[in-house]
Structure formats: structure tokens, C-alpha cells
């Protein structure tokens, strides 16, 4: 479970998140929606200790996220996988090394043939073949880099998957494929998933629940059906986008 209690965060004078409280149940897939710059990505980074909240608490799998406590933070990060908005691939090493890094670092496997099998498996999960294995990130298109970055995150077999704008820059076919993958991971493997996005169509296709952020606060929280009938002004704008 991910539990966010009364969390606030500011950058300079600007308060991005204001007393946010939310929970994500095990195996649940939650979409956090909102306009650009509303603090969605910040919320994800707070969940894994890449940023620290000004006030409030976040617990992941019963462990308190505390940037000062490196041991607990390491434990939390071992359970989590974060797909960044931009691919964030290490550009000095090949695709194979990018994906296998986490497997080695987390000692999921030490056998080279097992590692290679895992890398190929995750690559095929995101619709890529072995031709890209020896390539460097700069030789790939943005969309392919993004898929490699998802494969890298899946390779460490996280219990909690956090996606930051996963469909940005992806073509419609790849977007549909990714939505299926998120749904499959959530339903079959019971991976707890938080997706930060402004892609309302993906949210309707995949999300069990939606949270709508506006001006640092949650203005809607509930199922897709409930979202359709929400009277919140931002929810209405998103509805117009969808229908």
C-alpha cells in the first residue's frame, strides 16, 4: 500500500502540493490526472524519496519515506520502479547494459545467461526485439528510448510501479500496447501502479481509480464512472477532451 498523509511541497514561493492525502491499495492502478505543472510528477518523486515533503508523511509498503534514512529509502526503492517522463537512459552504455544494470545492482540474478534471458523477456514485453540490445540510447527514437526505459524498470521486478507521463511522445499503437501492459501487470501480477498523466483516454482504459489534482489539491477522487458525472470544473474540461 502507498499512503500519502497531509503532504505539502513548495518550490520557492509557489506551493505545488497542499495537504494532499491519498492511498493506493495493493494491486490497484490509480491515475493521477491534472494540468501540466500541477505537481503530479513531484508527488511521484516524493513517494520514492527523490524529493522531500515540507510537511506530511508518505508510507510505502509500511515503510516511512524519509530522505534522511538511507537504509529505509534503499528498501523502499528496491520495491519500486519509476518510469520517468523522459527516458533517462544512461547514454554512455548500451540498451542491454541499461536494462541489466538494475538486475545486477539489486542482485535479482547474477548468472549472465539468466540476466540476458531476463533482458530479452522484458524487451519483448514492451514490443522491442533484440536488434536494439547493442545500440546506444542516442541511436534510438524517443519512443523506442521510452520503451527501453519501461523495460529497464520492469526488469527489476518491482512491487510498485510508478509511471510519469508514460505515453508522452509515443505513437497511438505503442500507447495502446503500453496501456495493455500496465493493465496486465496490475491485474495478473498484482503490481500496485500509480500513473501520472494528462492522457484521459489511457486513464479510462486502464485506471481502477482516478485522482484529479488542481492548484495543489485533490479536486476529484473516484472511479471512471464517477469521473464522468463529476461536477468539478477541471473534471468537466477533461470530460470534454474525452467525449
Amino acid at each position: 500500500m502507498i499512503s500519502v498523509k497531509q503532504v505539502s511541497k513548495s518550490f520557492g514561493e509557489r506551493r505545488v502540493l497542499n495537504q494532499i492525502t491519498m492511498q493506493v491499495a495493493p494491486g490497484e492502478c490509480v491515475f493521477v490526472l491534472g494540468k501540466s505543472g500541477v505537481g503530479k510528477s513531484v508527488l511521484l518523486k516524493l513517494m520514492v524519496g527523490l524529493n522531500s515533503p515540507e510537511s506530511g508523511e508518505i508510507h510505502v509498503a509500511g515503510l516511512k519515506v524519509d530522505a534522511e534514512n538511507s537504509q529505509t529509502l534503499a528498501q523502499i526503492r528496491k520495491k519500486c520502479g519509476l518510469v520517468f517522463q523522459f527516458p533517462a537512459l544512461l547514454d554512455s552504455v548500451s540498451v542491454f547494459e541499461n536494462i541489466s544494470f538494475g538486475i545486477r545492482a539489486r542482485e535479482i540474478s547474477v548468472n549472465p545467461s539468466e540476466i540476458e534471458a531476463k533482458v530479452r523477456e522484458k524487451l519483448s514485453l514492451v514490443g522491442l526485439n533484440e536488434k536494439v540490445l547493442g545500440k546506444f540510447p542516442t541511436e534510438l527514437s524517443f519512443s523506442t528510448q521510452k520503451r527501453v526505459s519501461i523495460a529497464r524498470t520492469l526488469a527489476v521486478e518491482p512491487d510498485y510501479l510508478l509511471f510519469d507521463e508514460p505515453t508522452t511522445g509515443m505513437d497511438p499503437i505503442a500507447t495502446t500496447g503500453l496501456n495493455h501492459l500496465i493493465k496486465k501487470l496490475s491485474q495478473e501480477l498484482k503490481v500496485t501502479t500509480v500513473v501520472v498523466s494528462h492522457d484521459i483516454k489511457s486513464a479510462f482504459a486502464v485506471g481502477d481509480r482516478m485522482i484529479l489534482l488542481d492548484q495543489g489539491q485533490i479536486v476529484f477522487e473516484g472511479s471512471a464512472e464517477k469521473f464522468k458525472t463529476s461536477t468539478a470544473s477541471l473534471a468537466k474540461q477533461f470530460q470534454e477532451e474525452m467525449f
Binding site: K45, V48, L50, A74, R77, K78, C80, G81, L82, F84, Q85, F86, A88, L89, L90, D91, S92, F101, G102, A105, R106, S149, R152, T153, V156
Partner: protein
């Protein structure tokens, strides 16, 4: 508090090659000419003041081993690698690669700083040795041509005046400077702001601050080695 760090052998070897071997040409050319220039300058001043130039090889060798060898080599190394390290780490920060490393349970310090530290210390020490050798050979050629000294006479004087502790202190200085460069450059990279301008600023600051640190550290070490 940090208790230990992990050395990644493969990355360290890569950095030793990149920072050390690839810096050879610039050090070779620069220090060769510094050696030539010192012979000319010292000969001019010694003739002017002392009315003879017999001690020019000795003075140039002592100056090279005690000061100019490690200092000029590491200043050249700073301009070649300091900006590169800061820009690379700064870009990794801007593009969230550092956060990605953390999420993969890889410590950015272990992965980025330690191999560069090992590579830089190796480069500073080995390039300083090469630099001194090149400048002495260059100086010898010019001294034979211009001062009429024989090669035997030149190297006898050099080895008479340059003592073994001088060499050890020279290598210690190189090791200290070789440590300062990657740490200052990495620090600039890690604290880089957002955007390409911030990366450029981090690279500039890395070179400026590393160069200043080398010059200040040289004074402190010289004082500790020779003035106390």
C-alpha cells in the same frame, strides 16, 4: 554518514584510459615546450646575474620536479577533464539519469565519482612522470645545442640536485591534485541547476575552482614539504 564506497573495476579502467592515456598528447606537447622555455629563461637570467649557466640543468630539473611538473600537468588535466566531468554529471542530473540510477539501487557516487577519482589520480601521477621526463629530455636537447653542455654532464647535474624525497613529494602533489579535480568537478555537476545554461556554468565553475584549488593546494603542500 557514509561508511564505505564500492569500486567498480570496469568503470575505473575506462576512466583511467579516458583521463590518463587520452590526455598524453596534450601533456607531451605542452610540457616539452615548457622544458625548452625554462632552459632559455634560466640561462638568460643566470648569465645576467651569476655570469655563468652551469647550474641551468639543475635548477630547471628541481623546479620541474618540485613545482611545475605536477602543477602544469594537473592544470592541463583540469582543462581537459574537469569541464567534461561536470558537464557529464550535470547533464545526467538535468535528464534525470541520476534519479534513474538511484531508483536502480545504484549509488551515483559509487558509479560516477569513484571511477573518475581512481582514473584521475592514476592520470595525474602517470602524466606527471611523463611530463617531467619529456621536459627533461627537451631541456637536455636544448642545453646541448645552446649551452654546450654534454648529455652526461646535464643528467649528472640533474640527478645530483633532484633527490628521491623530491620525487616522492612530487608524486604526492600529483595524487592530491588528481583527487581535487574529480571531486570539485563532480560536486559542480551534482549541484547543477536545470537547463543547458546551468550545465555550461557547472563546467566553467569546475575548471575555475579546480584550477584555483590546485594552485592553493600547491602552496600549502610546498609549505608543508619544504618550509617547515
Amino acid at each position: 554518514m557514509r561508511k564505505r564506497f564500492r569500486l567498480r573495476i570496469h568503470e575505473a579502467l575506462e576512466q583511467m584510459y579516458f583521463l590518463g592515456v587520452q590526455s598524453l598528447p596534450i601533456v607531451f606537447i605542452s610540457l616539452g615546450f615548457v622544458g625548452l622555455m625554462m632552459i632559455l629563461e634560466l640561462a638568460f637570467h643566470m648569465r645576467l646575474v651569476l655570469k655563468h649557466d652551469a647550474l641551468v640543468p639543475a635548477f630547471s630539473a628541481v623546479l620541474m620536479v618540485r613545482e611545475l611538473g605536477p602543477v602544469i600537468t594537473c592544470l592541463l588535466l583540469t582543462s581537459r577533464i574537469g569541464a567534461g566531468i561536470a558537464a557529464e554529471i550535470g547533464t545526467m542530473k538535468v535528464t534525470e539519469q541520476l534519479d534513474a540510477l538511484k531508483m536502480l539501487s545504484i549509488d551515483p557516487f559509487d558509479y560516477l565519482v569513484v571511477p573518475r577519482w581512481v582514473g584521475s589520480v592514476f592520470a595525474a601521477i602517470s602524466l606527471t612522470v611523463v611530463a617531467i621526463a619529456v621536459s627533461l629530455w627537451g631541456g637536455a636537447l636544448l642545453a646541448i645545442q645552446k649551452l654546450g653542455t654534454s648529455s652526461g654532464e646535464y643528467f649528472n647535474t640533474v640527478f645530483f640536485f633532484v633527490k628521491f624525497p623530491d620525487v616522492i613529494r612530487c608524486l604526492l602533489k600529483a595524487a592530491v591534485f588528481g583527487t581535487l579535480i574529480p571531486f570539485i568537478a563532480s560536486y559542480q555537476g551534482f549541484r547543477c541547476g536545470t537547463g543547458s545554461a546551468a550545465v555550461g556554468e557547472a563546467a566553467t565553475q569546475a575548471v575555475v575552482r579546480s584550477s584555483l584549488a590546485i594552485i592553493v593546494a600547491d602552496f600549502v603542500l610546498t609549505y608543508l614539504f619544504y618550509a617547515i
